[in-house]
Amino acid sequence: MEQIAVVNVVLLISGLLVLLGIASSLIATRFGAPLLLVFLVLGMLAGEDGPGHIAFSDYRLTYLIGSLALAIILFDGGLRTNLTKLRGAVGPAIAMATVGVITTAGLAGAVATYIFDIPYLQGLLLGAIVASTDAAAVFFMLHAGGIQLRQRVGAVIEMESATNDPVAVFMTAILVEIILAHGAMSGGGVETAIAIAGRLTMEASIGLVGGLLGGFAASWTLNRINLPGGLHPLLVIATAVVIFSLTAVLHGSGFLAVYVAGLILGNRPMRAAASIVTVNDAATWLCQIVMFLVLGLLVSPTRLLAVLAPAAILSAFLIIFARPMAVWLCLTPFKFSNSEKGFVSWVGLRGAVSIFLAAIPTLSGVPGADLYFNVAFVVVIMSLIVQGWSLTFAARKLDVALPRVTAPARRVELDLPGQLTLEMVGYPVASSSAIMNGGTLPRWARPAFVIRNEAVVMPAESGALQVNDTAYYLAPPARAAQLDTLFAEHTELLSTDEPFFGEFLFDGTVPLKELAGFYALNLGPAMADMTIAALFSSRFDDSPEVGDHLRMGTAVIVAREVSEGVVTRAGLQLAASPEDAAVSTVRAGFSRLRRLVGLR
């Protein structure tokens, strides 16, 4: 009976902690605090030194939870990534995941050896633990700020974080082995290096193959076997866990495998896609909350204090020197601009992976393993605070985000069983949406019905859409999300009493130079020879959307019709409100100042 009582208490505490995590997300978003940090702090507060007084020191359980959570987060990250968006990012990401991680680990290791006054091998181990960026943190933070990064930069950062864990895990494991063997392997340096490289290649290859096979198998199974509705998402998550663990059992990189499997599955037609994405979303949230809570619980904040100062120095070195060095080394051959490299350097977010890698020495019984764990913890907290908090700001400053504010779409998606080519999507109709202001529906979207005043109205009777309708369409799943732009709220386009798409309409082929003459547009030097379509393509990374707009002097150009990623028609809003004009003048002044100082 006592056993049962204990179980119930443990369940009660766990449930309460997750509830607290969810509640704190409300507060955190209001202050713009990085949510993962909030979960971590919550865990620390609940832990032995906080008001919660929960004594938790089970490294093995933490490792288990961490592995499971990371596998699911990485899988979800792959699932959401559009393969075509990875174009041009694979090479740089792989360079960063290999050369980048090793460089960072080496530099951080050297400094750690000096700061903590430990043997070089142990310093290097510490370097390896904090060398890789964290997929959980990166996937989460990049999408939390409402910004949309330029495709190449975003793809490199995401892909790097998803693929660098194997290298860091491997380095950590090898170094632990060497330290435990008291440097016995340090004899034949070159031979050892070759052996290590060989094993690393082996692990990565097995991981890649495992992910490919697993992904295709999952896709095939999902689309061919009939299951009761609720089981599809579960099938996918369970498959991900199997792919991860089986690959790891076969001495491959499980992390690489789940990410690749997610990429494959997410880029093929998928039955029950809507429910899978929804459930995965919830699962990923739960993983983030539980993983960071548990890591927070595991640490003893009072023991952190002992290493706080030196660990903070190491962290600063990582942020200011080691990471930028590695990024410069890896990305320069791929012709990234300075601001792009600057941003990638700044977004070297450390997270659960580092803390979790720090558990390996403890689990393996390396003497003085506490040090690694506590230092990793401080480094992660520093990274979440300094880099996490400033991420959106840095993206805007370094001009690596698209000039667009993304409001989350309130799309309802319904799977249509029996076929994979169409799904149903529904949107609430807002007065400030493009569709209510002259935007046109693409041909491939077929109106299904409208919900108006709680009644279903068929297209034949509904007439024009009205505000507060909910409109439903049949659309190919791959394109359905493109409707988001038509229904998104664009209050900033209605800041004056001018029409949403402006007074005058122009073809995308009109050269900007000719427009500039009539409307006093401020054209930058590179823009003089562009057409309207080319301008939108360059500023919105070849994927402009209806409602995207660019201010040029007092006028604003608004994309009105977009076909196959090219703006075919654009409107011109003539006069911005006076306040806006003042703000843009100040901004222009600042950018001139920046150019003077030579920052750009």
């Binding site: 004056t496 007074e503 005058f504 309409l505 427009l515 009539f518 409307y519 003539l574 006069a575």
Partner: protein, 153 residues
């Protein structure tokens, strides 16, 4: 920026006769030449050049052709109500019967945009357009175009 600052009573025409867009623009250019003292052909070509970039038929039977001329020292406008609506390649493909021509000096910049926005806002008002279509004389049109803004202000 007020309409009465740029539109003179003699630049308002009720019942302009023109069979098509080109001739309507030619007629407007002739009236504009009379108030500005500039070459009619020059005005016509400037306005036509702007139409080539995209129509100024903004919908609901309204067109706002415009252009910049280096010889001008201030903004000038001509307003015409056509006797019969004509095809103007308008955005909504509806025939046009109310045309507001706006000419600006080369250096006008923001003033030019403000004036265009002002005219566009005035003619977007459906009840205004209804009154303009019902007015009998050019004087009536002029009063409508200039009075409303005094009330609004």
């Amino acid at each position: 920026m007020e309409i009465r600052d740029i539109l003179q009573p003699e630049a308002v025409v009720a019942g302009l006769k023109a069979p098509n867009k080109k001739q309507a623009l030619q007629e407007l250019a002739r009236h504009a030449a009379a108030v500005t003292g500039l070459n009619e052909r020059k005005i016509f070509e400037t306005v036509l050049e702007r139409e080539r970039l995209g129509t100024t038929g903004v919908g609901s039977g309204i067109a706002i052709p415009h252009g910049k001329l280096p010889e001008l020292t201030r903004l000038y406008a001509v307003f015409a109500r056509l006797e019969k609506p004509i095809d103007f390649d308008a955005i909504d493909e509806q025939p046009v019967d109310l045309i507001f021509l706006l000419l600006a000096p080369e250096s006008a910049g923001a003033d030019h945009l403000k004036a265009l926005a002002r005219v566009s806002r005035l003619l977007r008002d459906a009840s205004m357009c209804e009154k303009l279509r019902g007015a009998k004389t050019a004087d009536g049109l002029y009063l409508l175009l200039t009075q409303t803004e005094a009330q609004a202000a």
